[in-house]
């Protein structure tokens, strides 16, 4: 039943969202020369259709939720869909990895490629379990150096340099 509730909530969210986005499209600046196929033409079409489909979803998930509630009232054991302790832990691990990736993203721009990548690799490899810690410690700088070399020397593609003092450090490295 938890699932059915989530489905209904998500469908409702998309339904309201598509209507909201339709109204935003209505407010787009218009172009004098393309008035019949203007900036809002396609977005309005798409979000109107989406309001239709998500509206249908809201109806259908409301109906199936109602059916489940009726079955619950009829005395059948419901599936409560509550997370167990184990899945909480895994959920936290996912959040940790997601936060780490976001931190890496910001580090990429402020600390420059090398420092950010080495730090990220050290932290990330320790988030996932694997016995040999020495390998994990060595892997980060080696991989980072190899990648930096390939990208800057072989491919001549730009790598972020970071700001301030990190900018100068990166100049030394590549």
């Amino acid at each position: 039943m938890g699932k059915a509730i989530v489905n209904l909530a998500v469908a409702g969210f998309f339904f309201l969202g598509s209507i909201w986005l339709w109204y935003i499209a209505d407010g787009f600046p218009t172009s004098p020369r393309y008035s019949q196929i203007d900036t809002d033409y396609w977005p309005k079409l798409v979000f109107a259709l989406m309001a239709l489909t998500t509206g249908g979803q809201v109806v259908s998930s409301a109906l199936s939720l109602r059916a489940e509630l009726k079955a619950w009232n009829a005395g059948l054991a419901p599936d409560t869909g509550m997370p167990s302790a184990q899945s909480m832990f895994i959920f936290l691990r996912v959040i940790a990895m997601a936060v780490l990736i976001m931190a890496y993203y910001f580090g990429f721009q402020y600390l420059g490629f090398s420092i950010a990548t080495v730090l990220f690799l050290w932290l990330a490899t320790f988030t996932v379990s694997f016995r040999n810690a020495a390998v994990k410690i060595l892997f980060a700088p080696l991989f980072t150096m190899a990648l930096a070399l390939i990208f800057t020397q072989v491919l001549a593609l730009p790598l972020p340099r970071g700001v301030g003092v990190f900018y100068d450090i990166s100049l030394l490295l590549y």
Partner: protein, 325 residues
Amino acid sequence: MFSMPRGTAPTLAAICALALTVAANPTRAEAQTYPSRSIEVVHQYGAGGGTDRFIRAVGVPFEDVTGQALVPISVQGGGGIPAYANFRLRRSDGYALMAIGPDQVIAHALGRIDINTLMPLARVQYDQGLFIVRSDSPFETIHDLIATAKADPGAIKVGITGAAGFDETLVGLWNLRSGAEVTAVPFGSAEMVSNTLGGQVDAMYEEYGPARGLLESGDLRALVVFSEQRLPVLPDVPTAQELGYDVTLGRWRAFAMHADADPDHAAVLVDAIAHAVETDSYKTFEAQSALQYRSVLLGPSDFRAFVDREAEVYTAVLTQLGFIQ
């Protein structure tokens, strides 16, 4: 406290000292002659495209002159704004340039960027465009097109590239000056040509270089050229000026630095670029892209005057077209 291997402390100390030295002395790299490392040129087009190849073509002789390379950095999309933002974030240490063109002037006219934050260095290429039709089009000469357009304004569809960009401004200017109103239909550059050949649109606006193969084979026919003089390779194609319509806008490619960059650095670069574009290798490249007809190198002051004139024209046209309220 865990025990560290023996040489860790001194090594760490050395690294810290190094970092502090570098941090305290950011211009250490400039202690040698400028330029002492490669210069990155930011542009808003894709890798392998016209501007990318332009930068590399100038870069080869530039490297012979200065010993340092010009490295193109592609920051595509968003009407050139992300490229501009990327350039503005870089330091004004003389190692960052921007490849600019009419799109930057248009963005300035639309209020999206401030072109006074850029120091124009040198305008290198200046192209000229044409109205081109397919060979079995009912328009034999430009006069046929003008007559039809005046009789039925907006009926003739002219393929262009880009949205609210240079092509659209030029067609808009043509409409205003000639009174022969045509409708601009935006396409990607390859589809524009195929749609013109296939007869889906009546004509297209394109520079001579990209259309050269089809013009030479006879599949396409040029009607009018937007330049001060006729092209030597197309002696029968009149200029818009001859017809009495003052439309001579063209795409150009140039280099710019940060407005607050060191003028000495700027002088070095202008000198190097001036030498680079005189070399055989660049001249060959220029001829291959059919850009040799009116590409006169403009130094900083001439170029700045040129940019100011262009800004006036674009602002006037865009206002009349309704892009600027």
